[in-house]
Symmetry: T
Subunit: 74 residues, 12 copies
């Protein structure tokens, strides 16, 4: 049942290209220091505007990862 | 006024490609057994992660469809 | 600190192509009559269906813009 | 305790006359194919406008009904 | 400024006729023991069904009233 | 697709008679200066009390209208 | 990816014993007519009182199940 | 229709044993001074921790009771 | 464990000076008739305007207090 | 009843000093172009940080104002 | 006042037995690497189903703990 | 675009003086171990009462900070 113990963190990411790319940028950043990322949920989709155009998309995610003693992530 | 009577169901879909594709996969699945699908609303955008990458996007939708006696869908 | 005074409006946009394109369509429309658009937030992602396919995506946005006396936008 | 097992569906109805009438129109539609409707809850009250007047009211309801094996309604 | 100190209670009322009548029934009941009722807000609109018809409407209200030492209402 | 670009405003209305009449009063007021009102959604139903009776009903609405360059309404 | 297409329904269950037992009663009822139930989420925990004691617990659940053509469950 | 007029109060209860027991403790306390308790709804489930263990569970409930002139409970 | 049984009421207060002062005004009013007030939570921060200035701040609070048989506060 | 017809807009303000001052800054800005401001409600309290200190507070407000034909504010 | 500075994390736990046991499993896991856990709040109660039965309960908790310089937990 | 990648944590702070001071106390505590704090958002404003007076204010904040490899803060 160990698989069902998640630690859940909140992180944002951004991209000039697409919402999907902003999601991946947040996931990649989290993955640099955390192992065993399992799922994400989008909490907010926002963005910045310049000269009447979307300059970049920004997403706020919850990311769940399973924890072991070398990866507490807390 | 008959057009304004909707039955509303909740369904999820997923895609390895994009959020739009995950939406279409849920709509297509609902369309196999229901007629007269009219609109959708995204309730949740989530996804699964593997090796620090988005493995697939998953959306939960409300879908509204108009009903007639051979298509009650309840 | 003047930069931190925003007026916030609600506007929707749509696109047959993608959610990002629907966002840009709402932003472009607002930009025809308002200056200094700064950020947006997606409140709702919806869409219309026809023949079991997504006919168009529709987003409802909050858009924040900074105001000056010739651009009150209220 | 059997009475306390409900299936809950979501349905909308509309009326040119009143909110109460829109509620009854949704209930009547559900009752054509489902037995044992017990309660409703109004989730949303909306409507369409034409020429600056309310053309019709539209309500979205949750409706609960008790189920037996010939009336699963799922 | 005394006018701006409210005590707020929650009460439900019902009517076979209309939502407005259900509101008034809750207000009347509260008024039997409390003075100085000032405002209400509808939290929920529900109802019971019988034989595919609305049997009665039920509303849950917040009611605000100003308080004095003989009318604490707490 | 032009039809799907809405500007959405928030306005309240009131009536001594009914909730429906309060909705119409808000819609009528908006219609004095804005064209192409298309839909409304009730955000809140409230009211004022006097002598233990409902003195008037008050609704807060979102109203959506389509915009053109002479009717930006922002 | 087929596993990630869920249909989601809402159902309530009750028990005189415990919240867990009320959950199982709702799940069992759904399982009489639907296959491939996968997960549940508790939306509400309520109950009825008699003589100052809990007479039974009642839960409202969302239940997700995977669908195939003989099990559309819509 | 008298049965459908409820006064609704908010009360918390706690227990070292279980969530069900915490619910019953809140109900028992309310029942010492109020008659005709009819239903409860769990608003929050919380608890205190000590030495890495749950010391007690705490629930916040809404409790509905029918009122008569000797039991206004307001 | 007696300490963990709270009755929770809703009350508003106002002040021309500050939000903190509006909180204290609501607490003071509740304290005139209730003992053992323990905590508050701000539900809403509002206010009235006159001549383009804040005339007073108004807060709506939940207040929790422990109860004994002479202080039921219901 | 004219008093009960409000237009409601959303605006933010900021201050280096206090939350109350941030509220007043938003109100003052709205008052430069709109008459008859009547009430506000705080939707969000945020702020920016620099060197581990609050650099300024930022509030997002709803502001309600009564409208006449020369002050539609839409 | 030091006691009132909490860091709040989000963690899930699961159990085949009961909701209370799932809560304790999340708390125990957090306690392996964090000291001074003080309270929890249940955000979500979910679970997995197999063969029409609850296979395990899963809860998502917020856990608050007091922090000192060797236990920042961030 | 690096600036737009935030890690977001939840922390509470308290003060006997004011809400602003409680915010600063939470920010200061976070700043002892984390760099590059950028913004906060108030999630909850609460407080403890003693002898009918506010003993201290307590706020729960989300704090966003930018991350680099020596400041992951997860």
């Amino acid at each position: 049942m160990e698989d069902h113990v998640y630690r859940i963190i909140e992180i944002s990411g951004s991209s000039q290209t697409s919402i999907e790319d902003a999601i991946q940028s947040a996931v990649s950043r989290a993955g640099r220091t955390l192992r065993n990322l399992r799922w994400f949920e989008v909490l907010q989709t926002r963005g910045h505007l310049e000269d009447g155009k979307v300059q970049h998309y920004q997403v706020v995610l919850k990311i769940g990862f399973t924890i072991d003693d070398t990866n507490i992530g807390v």
